[in-house]
């Protein structure tokens, strides 16, 4: 590890020249932004009149303002359903694909397609699919003798949006799990076969424990994505005046800042988001130490 190319003489200068963009990014992009957002979160500022000190009002509002509270519960609900959905379905798909069967690469392309294309474009077609009277989904439901559903009405929109978000995320999750699955030595399964273990046992005794690093990684990534989910929600649920039938925190930040010019309030929400994500990450790493099996 301690091997490293030593810069000679004037090369020290070139080393720091190469690092300069990253240092600027760290200093201004990351550190500066966090400090600025923190400061802003204690201020009242519409960018038109001079900023004024607001104390902890913005933070108190997070838990008193009904709309802000709703956005937080929406984000939590979204995450609680989206993350297990993505992890379980992509693991399932990856296990199916990990068998030696023909045409796997064709399937892989098909499953990866939604992950490549823009959520904005595919949301347009989902909007048609979900249509109440004209959509194909209700058409199919009625064919099976079921009642049509108002998918994008307030009471169902959350689930409709979660379905589309999971649909868009399966491709990447599947690739992560396939990489993890192919790393498991074949001999383990052969030995288990000899001992008479059935497929069910093999999955829970061999596959699942050995794939825990991938599960950990995918859960981490999906959680971060869940807290930042925006595109499908914007495209499928937005209403007038920057409102949405499923306002999540990111949606609410945008609305606060760019519809209501309440930059202080929006900053407090951004900090709220950061703190929750950081706390969850800490929890995940604690879980990792206890349950994740590294060979």
């Amino acid at each position: 590890m301690e091997y490293g190319l030593k810069p000679l003489g004037r090369e020290k200068f070139w080393l720091w020249a190469l690092l300069t963009p990253t240092l600027i990014g760290l200093l201004f992009g990351a550190l500066g932004s966090v400090i600025a957002t923190l400061l802003l979160s204690f201020a009242k500022w519409d960018l038109l009149t001079p900023p004024s000190w607001a104390g902890i009002v913005n933070y108190v509002n997070l838990f008193h303002d009904e709309k802000l509270l709703l956005s937080l519960t929406n984000t939590i609900k979204f995450t609680a359903l989206y993350v297990p959905g993505v992890v379980i379905i992509s693991l399932f798909v990856a296990v199916l694909m990990n068998r030696k069967i023909r045409g796997v690469s064709l399937f892989r392309t098909a499953y990866f397609l939604p992950a490549v294309t823009s959520a904005v474009a595919t949301a347009l077609v989902w909007n048609m699919i979900y249509g109440r009277d004209t959509g194909i989904l209700n058409f199919i439901l009625e064919r099976f003798g079921l009642q049509p559903v108002c998918w994008l009405c307030t009471e169902n929109a959350m689930y409709a949006v979660i379905i589309v978000n999971i649909w868009g995320a399966i491709g990447e999750g599947m690739i992560i799990f396939l990489a993890g699955l192919t790393a498991i030595p074949r001999e383990y399964y052969e030995a288990a076969e000899m001992d008479g273990a059935n497929g069910f046992n093999q999955f829970f005794r061999i596959t699942l424990p050995l794939v825990t690093p991938s599960i950990f990684f995918q859960t981490l990534i999906s959680t971060i994505n869940a807290f930042q989910a925006y595109d499908y929600i914007y495209m499928l649920t937005r209403r007038g005046q920057g409102d949405s039938s499923v306002p999540v925190v990111v949606f609410s930040i945008y609305r606060n800042a760019w519809n209501f010019f309440n930059y202080g309030g929006a900053s407090a929400q951004a900090i709220e988001l950061t703190v929750i994500v950081a706390a969850l990450m800490a929890f995940y790493f604690w879980l990792e130490r206890r349950y994740v099996v590294y060979e």
Partner: protein, 279 residues
Amino acid sequence: MTRPNQKIILDFVCYALLLLGAVLMVGPFLWMVSTSFKLPGDQFTKTLIPPTFTFDNFRELFSVDISFPLLFWNSAYISILTTVGQLLTCAMAAFCFAVVKFKGRELLFTLLLLTLLIPPQVTLIPDFIIFKYLHLIGTSVPLWLPAFWGGAFGTFLLRQYFLTIPRDLVDAARVDGASLIQIFWKIYMPLGKPALAALAIFTFQGAWNDLLHPLVYMPSVPNTMLTVGLAFFQQQMSHGGKFTVLMAGALISILPLLIVFFFAQKLFIEGIALSGVKR
């Protein structure tokens, strides 16, 4: 039941499940393609093959009051500039972290990785304020300029790959009197091509598909990116009830990425595996 029989049944079940899943994954795309070739009067017919086949929806894209060529051009050059900026600055930093020995290397790298935890929403508000005071809102500068100060994801991805390049090459070059910059440019950049290509695809895809940032920095048509243009177009077309033209616009907007994907599929997939496994 004998073992081979069991395997055949299991294979069959796998096929059936994968096929069903594939229909669900690809279905919306087929629906998009199908609708974009239908007559506006047939837009809600429930057949995959258009009753009457037409190219009119694509022609109409040029006559609507949103200029699709401009949206296309904006998305293209912003995504390309973003990609160039990321490749260059991330590779420069990744080379230092992977190859060069210097004081504070580990600390700096750890700090960089920590920035992955900062949600983009946190940087968005101060960035917006700064760009507003520089009178750059409504221009594309805020969208591509930040790509030129590196990034944790790209640097991490490239560093992981650079670490796998044999050290002997560096030693040999050093014996021949190569400088730091020469080693970076003549050894690491050419040999790092697979990882650079993967990063290029990710970055381009991210920039092309981005909605939140163009919504903040270039919020109004006509001069904006495809994503914002389409969102605006959706409102317009839904009121007018022309979903066929909307689908034609959506299809056109995803076409460049689809083409890249079909030619560079391996890179996409290996890139994701690279970021997820070799940690």
